[in-house]
């Protein structure tokens, strides 16, 4: 065997072992995550939520909505936030130097008037140029500031926030009516809770009435359907599993709730990364573990946030590239946590896992599969083995997707028909027959672009959330810029 063949053979072995270990780990996480979801579903009853509301046992929340050029969706989103089912909260919209009609739309829709305001400038941000209050909704504040990126906008919102909990929510999202109540429940139950992440589900295809996703239907495009499977797998299995193990590293930037003093203690969101959500969670872990303070960061599957996912491939690939660069930046920034026993399971298991299977995963995947393919083509590897291995990878992914789809079926608000379920099954097949590989290649390329283009808002073309309170209208999510 020549040197070249030996290298190829070794790469092949590494790839297969890597895949086998990853599959076993994912299976284990999924099982742990499923158990967590089952218990969580019984932990918070409707009676308990009613008790919280009626008996004044809740923590007030400041919902922070960073926005940059969101004229199409901002009014509907803000309307959904100000009508949330929660006793005490405020909504703070931060327009981060928007150059479109975002501010005009807000001023018109909510009767905003400028109001000089003093606030605690605890976190340093780009200057806030004006603060406006709504004459209609007493809990709505809109601030305009110089452009500084999403993290900077959220930091400005935290400065303006009055309440002990802050909930950064993307401006293209809708929240379930009880989402805040269900998420904040965790802070009441446990004093040491510093952050809670909720589930994010794709809004595409849903019927929206009065700022709420009321009925689900499969979106028209396959690319949107594939993301439904992806999101279900990531949230109901992945994050639920990590959370159960006490090693949650990500709370989605689309929706999470944090204790304000904890975020301020660690210096707020870091503005120099594309993955500010994950970076903050890693920093919270690090600082609290170092200071020896008791703390918990959990994922709760109950609070649901609906988001509009990309409906065209270029937008989706740009998004994934951004996410991956953010992930690598964060892992590198917190490289001292890697295999550091001081951080317990996080340092010894979660962070190494993220390095090996998430951060470097696309590289191993692309290089490994290519080497297997070349090995097979050159006859070093039996072609039958190659195809069997490929089939195994696809089937394994499908099993996990089906489990995630199964969890989704247990939600009261699920895709209602059996035909939708069959489409989800088909989507889980299609996902691993090209789509997953395409995304892996994009992430592979992103690995070598890390560090570039920071402090930007992720450009995503949108259809916009319907803002009419009635009649029911559908988010077509097809005609995007």
């Amino acid at each position: 065997m020549s040197m070249f063949e030996a290298v190829l053979a070794a790469l092949g072995v590494v790839t297969i072992v890597y895949f086998a270990v990853l599959s076993l780990l994912y299976g284990a996480f999924a099982l742990i995550g499923l158990r967590a979801v089952i218990l969580e579903s019984r932990q918070t009853s409707d009676t308990e939520l009613r008790d919280l509301m009626e008996r004044d046992v809740f923590k007030p929340v400041s919902i922070i909505v960073p926005a940059f050029n969101e004229e199409r969706s901002i009014v509907a989103a803000v309307r959904s936030f100000v009508t949330l089912h929660y006793p005490k909260f405020e909504v703070i919209v931060i327009s981060d130097g928007s150059t479109d009609g975002t501010m005009d739309r807000l001023i018109e829709a909510f009767a905003l008037v400028e109001e000089p305001r003093v606030w605690a400038r605890t976190l340093s941000t780009e200057p806030v140029t004006r603060v406006m209050r709504s004459l209609r909704d007493p809990g709505l504040i809109v601030a305009e500031k110089a452009n500084g990126g999403k993290a900077d906008a959220v930091n400005a919102g935290i400065n303006l926030a009055r309440y002990p909990l802050v909930a950064p929510v993307d401006s293209d999202c809708l929240l379930d009516a009880q989402a805040i109540l269900r998420a904040t429940r965790n802070f009441v139950k446990d004093d040491s809770m510093i952050a809670v992440g909720g589930t994010v589900r794709p809004l595409n295809g849903a019927t929206v009435v009065g700022g709420r996703a009321t009925a689900l239907r499969m979106p028209r495009r396959w690319i949107e359907r594939l993301q439904i499977v992806e999101y279900a797998r990531a949230f109901f299995l992945g994050r639920a599993g990590w959370s159960r193990m006490g090693a949650l590293l990500i709370i989605s930037g689309a929706f999470g709730i944090f204790r304000r003093d904890a975020v301020i203690k660690v210096g707020g969101f870091w503005t120099e990364t594309l993955g500010e959500d994950m970076e903050l969670v890693m920093r919270l872990h690090k600082e609290f573990a170092r200071s020896g303070l008791p703390y918990r960061i959990v994922f709760s599957p109950d609070p649901i946030c609906w988001t509009e996912v990309p409906s065209d491939l270029p937008t989706l690939l740009r998004q994934r590239s951004r996410w991956h660069r953010g992930l690598l930046t964060n892992l590198w920034r917190h490289r001292d946590m890697l295999c550091n026993p001081r951080f317990g399971r996080l340092g010894m298991f979660a962070v190494p896992f993220f390095w090996l299977f998430e951060g470097l995963g696309p590289v191993i995947e692309v290089v490994g599969f290519t080497s297997l393919l070349v090995s097979a083509a050159l006859g070093i590897l039996d072609m039958q083995v190659f195809w069997l291995f490929l089939g195994l990878a696809v089937l394994h992914g499908m099993v996990l997707s089906q489990v995630a789809a199964g969890v989704e079926a247990m939600l009261l608000q699920r895709y209602p028909s059996t035909s939708d379920r069959l489409i989800l099954f088909a989507a889980s097949l299609v996902e691993f027959l090209g789509f997953h590989q395409l995304v892996a290649v994009e992430r592979f390329l992103a690995t070598f672009q890390t560090g570039a283009r920071r402090r930007r808002w992720g450009a995503m073309t949108r259809t916009g959330i319907p803002s009419e309170p009635s009649p029911p209208s559908q988010v077509a999510a097809s005609s995007r810029r």
Binding site: T47, D382, V399
Partner: protein, 402 residues
């Protein structure tokens, strides 16, 4: 939010599926680690992979079949159950009004669910009769048994049902549940016990139940938030519970804090004097809770004036915040002057609390804010006073617009 059936079966099926996958994958890893590869190993590797593909296909079929069947069956099942529940609600209402005969023997699930819903909805003697029906038909005993034995998810379901039923005879079962080593069961039992305790009318039983619940919570060292919730959920029985919690030999700081917060939230003036010693407690959180309780009760004894005044200069920010809120209960002249000073506090949050407290003092407080906005020596104090006045104007405008 979730369908609470079929999920445990799904987890079992998935466990089987994962095992089907794990065995060949584990074998594959081991064989590769042992150095099998290349042309000679190709055939053996192929057969292992073939086995893995076969077992994963079986796993996929198993999971997918269950998901599809679940989707299909659950839709019909829920429709049927909803209809049966509705029929039972109508029938029970008939029983309560004397228009229908009471069913004999044990009840089906929907009948119990209908009774539980009625127990939540109805008040007074009708609600008491629903409780009697639940007991007479053995539903309570059955729920108690399920709350004590079985899987965690099944026990949680039963505890939630008992929490809705609020049957005094089930109180001790729920209190025993607080001692459970599983925190989910312990917390759910504590909540259910508190809701049940609220329905215990007999004073002796109430004290006995409160004492047992307090002991259980202390033994389990339940967190502050849960103890506070339990106190509030106990409603009229909260006085018994708080008395026991505060009289405990060596109460934990979180428990004391929760009891004091409960006094404030439920506005239990009967405990107004009990709060006073905690205004100087060594634990900052307890002191903060005592100041909050004073503010919520709206009562500050003359002997405690000095303590609140001292707290306004405390080193801990949140103590000064709560002290500023409580300071509105001081004699007006003193309150105006002290709060005006606090407008210049180093913490923004204390300045805000002082401004809000001045607003709460009515015209005199607003006038003081006006003076502070013009004349206060501290620029930040002037800004805060101005802000508070602007907020008042905004509120007025908003009220007019509305």
């Amino acid at each position: 939010m979730w369908r609470r059936y079929g999920d445990v079966t799904f987890a079992v099926i998935f466990s089987v599926a994962i095992s089907l996958e794990a065995i060949p994958l584990g074998y594959l890893t081991w064989r590769l680690a042992a150095g099998i590869f290349g042309s000679s190993g190709g055939a053996r590797l192929g057969s292992v992979l073939l086995g893995a593909v076969g077992s994963t296909t079986a796993a996929l079929l198993l999971v997918t079949s269950y998901v599809l069947a679940y989707q299909h069956v659950s839709a019909r099942h829920e429709l049927d159950r909803a209809q049966r529940r509705q029929q039972w609600v109508a029938r029970w209402l008939g029983v309560l009004s004397g228009a229908a005969a009471e069913p004999a023997g044990s009840l089906e699930t929907e009948a119990v669910e209908a009774l539980l819903a009625l127990r939540e909805t109805l008040r007074g003697s009708e609600s008491a009769r629903v409780a009697e029906l639940l007991e007479r038909h053995g539903a309570v005993v059955e729920l108690e048994r399920s709350a004590e034995h079985g899987s965690v998810s099944g026990r949680l379901d039963a505890i939630v049902a008992l929490s809705n039923a609020r049957i005094p005879s089930a109180l001790m079962t729920l209190v025993n549940g607080v001692y459970d080593s599983n925190q989910l069961i312990s917390v759910a039992s504590a909540r259910a016990a508190a809701r049940t305790l609220a329905r215990v009318d007999d004073l002796f039983d109430r004290d006995r139940g409160a004492s047992a619940l307090a002991r259980a919570m202390e033994t389990q060292e339940l967190p502050y938030g849960i103890v506070e919730e339990v106190v509030v959920l106990a409603e009229e029985s909260a006085t018994s519970l708080i008395a026991v919690l505060l009289q405990h030999e060596r109460p934990r700081a979180p428990t004391v804090r929760a009891a004091i917060d409960g006094i404030g939230r439920l506005k239990l003036l009967i405990f107004a004097e009990e709060v006073v010693p905690f205004l100087t407690h060594a634990d900052d959180e307890v002191r903060g809770a005592a100041l909050r309780a004073v503010s919520r009760l709206g009562f500050l004894s003359e002997a405690s004036h000095g303590v609140v005044i001292a707290a306004l200069a405390d080193e801990v920010d949140f103590i000064r915040i709560h002290a500023a809120t409580a300071a509105r209960l001081l004699p007006p002249t003193q309150a105006l002057s002290l709060l005006s000073d606090r407008l210049g506090d180093r913490s923004w949050w204390v300045r805000r609390a002082a401004a809000d407290a001045l607003v709460g003092l009515g015209p005199a407080g607003l006038a003081q804010l006006g003076r502070a906005a013009r004349e206060h020596a501290d620029r930040f104090a002037r800004d805060m006073a101005e802000q508070a006045l602007r907020d008042q104007i905004s509120n007025l405008v908003r009220a007019v617009v509305a």
